[in-house]
């Protein structure tokens, strides 16, 4: 029984399997099966699999597809967009999938495109992923040659053109609708929802945007079925998950594990525990824009539902670990500075609040903190709360800050009373 469907084809030397190798391992059989299925049946299958989006928000994939207008009256063309703009600090999971098994993504995209009857697809790729771009382009060329892309895919009526678009590089482009604007050649400002992209997306047409890892799960779901997929997980969220760890651990890295692996398991069994001389203080479990968890939460299963119960999010599933030799204020400053820099400038809480927060954190870290600064930071976190802003950038951005203020408040206060960073 395959238990690591996402990474099963990956080679030890890091080279990507070419079309021949991929097909030899059973590749593109799921595509053939899917093309014989009615689109609605694929959507139902994905719904049953309980697959949730792996980009961070965790929206149920099948449900998302079911909002796409179908039938002859549906606006044309419809678009499928793969969000490969992996810009989240501390997150590098899609990179592995893109570099080490590009055909798996292409096959997943053909399946998704068939399900929503999209005729054009884009892979919106982070600009720095140069190797991924080269391997994707090579794989796409192979797929066109094999008639898996283009008109009459594998002899069926389904057609799909697949393009790689390399991003000019802004964090905002990773936001679903900012990505669509960027793809249209416009400023990467987010769009109002509703209307959702499923109805009015790229160039005003029905569009599905999915994360790389989400799409890579599709071939095995079609191949093995929904129940098998659900069985891979230890929790109610089906499938496996690419988990990562960075920070002062012995073996930073990325592992495909059953959904619901605990933080302790990832940290101790896979990442080898903390480096000598440092101890664990906390972690951002799902990338830079998730709330801190602490050693009270080490046994929480890493899935969408369980992390929410402890006030954080699964996000991308790639942990950034904070140790006792690193200043939490400095870490927050680094993060908030990044997010403030990346604000698109559209809504007031984001462009003003994040800058305010970053400036204040810098003052604290440089010894210029003043009484009232922590209240001001808490105010900015409230100001940028979900619903108060136009998109999810700012609410995510203040998650590490608001939780750091909760868990490491004494450290913040010492910065003010000591007029310096205690770690300096």
């Amino acid at each position: 029984m395959v238990e690591t469907p996402l990474t099963r084809n990956m080679r030890a030397d890091g080279e990507a399997p070419d079309l021949q190798a991929y097909e030899k391992a059973g590749g593109y059989q799921s595509m053939r099966s899917a093309l014989r299925m009615a689109p609605a049946d694929i959507t139902n299958l994905v719904k049953q699999s309980t697959l949730r989006g792996r980009g961070g928000a965790g929206f149920p994939t099948g449900q998302k597809w079911s909002f796409v207008p179908m039938g002859d009256d549906a606006p044309r063309p419809k678009y499928l967009v793969c969000n490969a703009d992996e810009m989240e600090p501390g997150t590098f999971k899609d990179r592995l999938l893109l570099e080490a098994d590009p055909h798996q993504l292409i096959e997943g995209m053909i399946i998704a495109a068939h399900a929503i009857q999209a005729e054009v697809a884009y892979i919106f790729l982070r600009g720095e992923y140069v190797l991924a771009a080269a391997r994707l382009r090579a794989a796409i060329a192979e797929a066109y040659d094999a008639h898996y892309l283009g008109k009459r895919i594998a002899g069926t009526d389904q057609a799909l053109d697949l393009h790689v678009h390399v991003s000019a590089g802004r964090y905002m482009c990773g936001e679903e609708t900012g990505l669509l604007n960027a793809l249209e050649g416009k400023r990467a400002n987010p769009r109002a929802k509703p209307p959702y992209p499923q109805v009015s997306g790229l160039w005003g047409k029905p569009t599905i945007v999915q994360n790389v890892e989400t799409l890579c799960n599709l071939p095995c779901i079609v191949e093995r079925g929904a129940d098998w997929f659900k069985g891979l997980s230890r929790t109610k969220n089906g499938g496996t998950k690419l988990y990562g760890a960075s920070g002062k651990v012995r073996r930073p890295g990325l592992w495909e594990l059953p959904m619901g692996a605990t933080i302790r398991e990832i940290l101790e069994e896979h990442a080898g525990g903390m480096q000598d001389g440092v101890t664990f203080r906390g972690a951002l479990p799902g990338g830079a824009s998730t709330d801190f968890v602490t050693d009270d939460h080490l046994d929480v299963p890493m899935d969408f539902d369980e992390l929410e119960k402890v006030g954080s999010r699964l996000g991308t599933g790639t942990m950034i670990i904070l140790d006792d030799r690193t200043c939490p204020v400095g870490m927050c400053w680094n993060l908030e500075h990044f997010f403030a820099q990346e604000s698109c400038g559209w809504c007031t809480p984001c462009w003003s609040g994040l800058r305010f927060a970053a400036r204040t954190l810098r003052a604290l870290e440089e010894g210029h903190g003043a009484p009232g600064d922590l209240e001001a930071l808490e105010h900015q976190a409230w100001f940028c709360a979900p619903g108060n802003t136009f998109c999810a950038l700012a609410p995510g951005a203040v998650e590490p800050l608001q939780s750091a203020l909760r868990y490491f408040r004494a450290d913040f206060e010492r910065h003010i009373t000591d007029h310096r960073c205690p770690w300096m």
Binding site: V199, S343, C347, T348, P349, S352, G372, T389
Partner: protein
């Protein structure tokens, strides 16, 4: 109607709107920035946050942005909720992090939406203690100052400029808190609606550069309801004056006419009022000597001339008020009153009036034109002849693609969702023109041809819409295909609009437009027919009627006395004809506001008030009579033309009552010309009072009344009484909202900026309370039915060695009065002759070469300009520019390269 519960009070509100519009329509104070009533919602600033509750039991609720929340029946909102208040104050605090707090030296101060909203939210203490971001500003040309440090990133400017007005040379650059709104590099903003940024910007990033030269705070301005005099559309304006000078012009909302926006000619043309070429004192000329005289002496001399001359004729003016034209007619007698436009112009305007009256097409108001879903512009370059109409048509082009958004459940007020869904798609938008136009970016198809060919296309479209309309023979296959596709698009639209005008100076073009409208009506379409006329009161003058100017110019029996009203005859006819009249007449009396070549020939020059020093009525292109009111108290001998003429009438006519006020002239006019009688209703008459009080022209906070003139005389002069209007020249008067025609300025407690207009409307972006001002004088009765079988002109044939010279128009330059405004004049081109590149090649001439062109027997020497879109065999000359003599066009001319 849905019931909306706001802070536990139930209100009946209109569906299809967002909660911000609903709250503002209910006159509830809810602050906002990025939302604009004409631009819709985008949810950027987050200023209009309110609490939304699920039901009566829900006490927690959630913050939502009112502008992004559609109202629904039973919806429960709270503006007063503590979280919502705190959030709104936080938004201001955020906006203020970088704002320079330079209100005392900012031109926006005192009418700044940011100031108003700051006060409204209660934010007063700034915690941000770090450096502010700063920008380098740009020189954007003669109309606008740029001060980016004040920017709060509401994105209104770029949305108006690019998305609403179609401009391309202005954008937002960079991101986060350093978003920069400007041009790629310094330079004059190209879009002729750029001046609206003054009002669209909620703070002082874009301010009026002409105002800066003679700056006055809004609260220190004397203001009055006025009407623009720079084209035929009759946009409503609010001029502001202080110390006897006109300081600025802003938009005056009229829900049926200009809505929220003006063109830059209308906004910046006002400075002609302050021109050094103003005539301010009566002048008598005798032989070579000229003498400034008193008002009485001038009147004595003029009335003496009138009574002593055996023959007197009057020449009216399409840029003077109805009252002034009527008063002149009364002085000289109807049989001696001539229309103040060339016979050709009068014939074209008369044809348009006749066709409007004949119907059956609806003649839409300017605001109505925005709602049509297919457009065919037949010959008229509206961006240059009726600019504000071009802005409206830009919105019409969006109507058809927006219709399908209903199926997607995208509300039309949700602006960016609409634009993202519609993308670059436009409804059917056909342009047939002589030269390239600034609406070409919208065009489904842009056909360039000589006027007769434009007419032929429109006739052909009419025939393809309705086979009973006359067919056009000899069309090329391509052109017939175009006619068919245009016909199909118009005939399948719900509300097609045909736009034309006198710009081509072609009766065939006008007739063809009307024939097409008739054909569409015959097919059951709710068709609109919109004509652009040449001047602000062309329609009024026509309705009043008069003899052709040509009869005066060319009559064998020369009159002894010619009285010319606000008219430079050199703009109406060639110098030879004008000179023949002026030199053969024994005496000439000219009433005008600026010195012209005609006033230079007068024995008696009477200083006439411009719109700013006068009350009066203008009739716009749709036949809407609108009253304008005096805003300036001249410290000279200037008075309204109609008052000069009323005084001359009193001095020279034994019978009849003397006319003491505007009311008297209006009543006399209504009696003498029944079709003009409804014009009396255009605004309340002088006796109108609100609870016994007049409507004040000055804000309550007007300062300096007792000290302004103290350097001259410490005793405060008695404020002048206005005998013509129910307005006072001071701040004394009613504090209530006046009737819509009498609104001198928009102001409401807490709303000091022009956005106070929200408080004067029945609903947001709808009619003003009590109905929009203006009275329609023309009603299509359909009885005359129009010409049964219009004559179709022969196809244009280029000639060897000769070109058909057609008029070209310029938004800045072609209008006589606005050209006196320095900012406008700066953007006016120099005279030229235009040819396409191939024709220029054939002539062996290059851009800038000097060409001799002969029109009406006069040879002019003009530089060549290459206009790639001009059809072969057609040359263009700019009309109306200073230095361009009046010529009869279209006309054939040889072109000779001057070496």
């Amino acid at each position: 109607m849905p019931t909306l519960v706001v802070d536990n009070h139930p209100f009946q509100v209109r569906a299809d709107q967002n909660a911000l519009e609903a709250c503002l329509s209910l006159k509830l104070d809810l602050p906002y920035f990025c939302w604009h009533p004409a631009l819709g919602s985008v949810g950027a600033c987050r200023q209009c946050a309110v609490k939304q509750f699920k039901d009566e039991k829900d006490t927690k609720g959630k913050l939502v942005m009112a502008c992004m929340t559609a109202v629904s029946d039973g919806m429960r909102l709270s503006i007063a909720d503590d979280d919502a208040r705190r959030f709104r104050a936080s938004v201001i605090e955020g906006l203020m992090e970088n704002h320079p707090h330079d209100c005392p030296v900012c031109d926006e101060g005192g009418e700044c939406h940011l100031q108003d909203m700051t006060v409204m939210t209660g934010h007063d203490y700034r915690r941000y203690r770090f450096p502010k971001r700063t920008f380098r500003n740009q020189d954007l040309g003669p109309f606008l100052n740029h001060e980016m440090n004040r920017c709060i990133q509401c994105y209104r400017c770029v949305r108006f400029y690019r998305e609403y007005a179609g401009g391309t040379d202005f954008n937002v650059f960079k991101l986060r808190d350093i978003a920069y709104f400007g041009r790629q590099q310094d330079g004059v903003l190209e879009n002729e609606f750029a001046g609206n940024l003054v009002e669209v910007c909620p703070t002082g990033v874009f301010t009026d550069k002409t105002l800066k030269r003679h700056y006055t705070r809004k609260w220190d301005l004397t203001m009055a309801p006025s009407v623009c005099v720079h084209c035929s559309l009759g946009c409503n304006t609010t001029p502001g004056a202080r110390y006897g000078k006109l300081r600025r012009m802003v938009n005056r909302y009229n829900g049926a006419v200009n809505g929220y926006f003006l063109c830059d000619r209308g906004r910046y043309g006002y400075e002609f009022v302050n021109s050094g070429r103003r005539i301010t004192r009566p002048l008598l000329r005798d032989g070579g000597s000229e003498r400034i005289v008193s008002r009485d002496e001038a009147l004595d001399r003029a009335s003496h001339l009138i009574t002593e001359s055996r023959s007197v004729i009057g020449i009216g003016s399409p840029r003077a008020s109805l009252e002034a034209n009527f008063a002149l007619r009364a002085v000289v007698g109807a049989e001696h009153f001539h229309l103040g436009m060339s016979d050709a112009d009068a014939a074209l305007a008369g044809l348009m009036l006749e066709l409007q009256r004949a119907g059956p097409a609806h003649v839409p108001s300017l605001r109505e034109t925005e709602q049509y879903d297919a457009v065919f512009i037949v010959g008229e370059d509206v961006s240059n002849t009726a600019p504000r109409l071009a802005l409206s048509l830009r919105q019409s082009a969006r109507q058809q693609p927006m219709q399908r958004l209903r199926a997607l459940k995208i509300p039309l007020w949700q602006d960016h969702a609409v634009r993202e869904a519609v993308q670059a798609e436009h409804g059917p938008f056909f342009i047939a023109s002589v030269n390239a136009t600034r609406l070409d970016d919208l065009a489904t198809s842009a056909y360039r041809a000589a006027p007769d060919d434009i007419a032929r296309l429109a006739f052909a479209v009419a025939h393809h819409v309705d086979a009973s309309a006359v067919a056009v023979d000899g069309l090329s296959g391509d052109l017939d295909d175009l006619a068919r596709s245009c016909a199909a698009a118009l005939a399948t639209a719900e509300r097609p609009l045909i736009v034309s005008g006198a710009g081509c100076r072609s009766a065939s073009v006008i007739r063809a437009a009307a024939a097409l409208a008739r054909a569409l009506h015959a097919k059951g379409r709710a068709v609109g027919l919109c004509f652009a006329l040449p001047e602000c009161n062309t329609m009024g003058t026509l309705l009043l009627g008069g003899k052709p100017l040509g009869e005066a110019l060319d009559a064998a029996a020369r009159p002894e006395l010619v009285i010319v009203l606000e008219n430079d005859l050199h703009r109406r006819a060639g110098a030879v004809r004008v000179e023949a009249l002026l030199s053969s007449a024994a005496h000439v009396i000219v009433l005008d506001s600026i010195e012209t070549a005609t006033s230079a020939r007068a024995d008696v020059v009477l200083p006439a008030g411009t719109f700013a020093e006068s009350d009066g009525t203008l009739v716009n292109n749709e036949g809407r009579a609108q009253r304008f009111f005096q805003v300036l108290l001249p410290d000279s001998e200037i008075q309204e033309s109609w008052r000069w003429l009323a005084q001359l009438r009193a001095a020279t006519h034994r019978s009849g009552d003397a006319w003491e006020s505007l009311d008297d002239v209006l009543h006399a006019m209504g009696g003498a010309v029944p079709s003009l009688a409804p014009a009396i209703e255009a605004a309340p008459l002088s006796h109108y009072r609100m609870a016994g009080a007049r409507v004040p022209r000055e804000p309550q906070r007007y300062s300096g009344r007792t000290s302004m003139l103290a350097n001259i005389d410490v005793s405060e002069p008695k404020p002048p009484e206005d005998v013509d209007a129910p307005l006072s020249f001071t701040m004394e008067g009613t504090t209530r909202q006046p009737p819509s025609a009498l609104i001198p300025f928009f102001w409401s407690p807490g709303w000091n900026s022009i956005q106070a207009v929200n408080q004067y409307q029945t609903e947001i972006a709808a009619a003003l309370e009590g109905g929009d001002p203006g009275v329609r004088l023309i009603h299509a009765d359909g009885s005359t039915g129009g010409p049964a079988r219009p004559e179709i002109p022969a196809a244009f044939a280029a000639r060897k060695g000769e070109w058909l010279v057609v008029p070209l128009h310029h938004v800045f330059g072609s209008d006589e009065l606005s050209h006196e405004a320095p900012a406008v004049a700066q953007l006016a081109p120099a005279p030229y002759v235009a040819l396409n590149a191939a024709d220029a090649n054939a002539l062996g001439a290059h851009e800038g070469d000097v060409i001799d062109i002969t029109l009406d027997g006069v040879t002019q020497r003009l530089p060549l300009k290459i206009a790639p879109a001009l059809p072969a065999g057609v040359a263009g000359v700019p009309v109306g520019l200073e230095g361009m003599p009046a010529v009869t066009l279209p006309a054939w001319s040889r072109l000779v390269t001057h070496t």
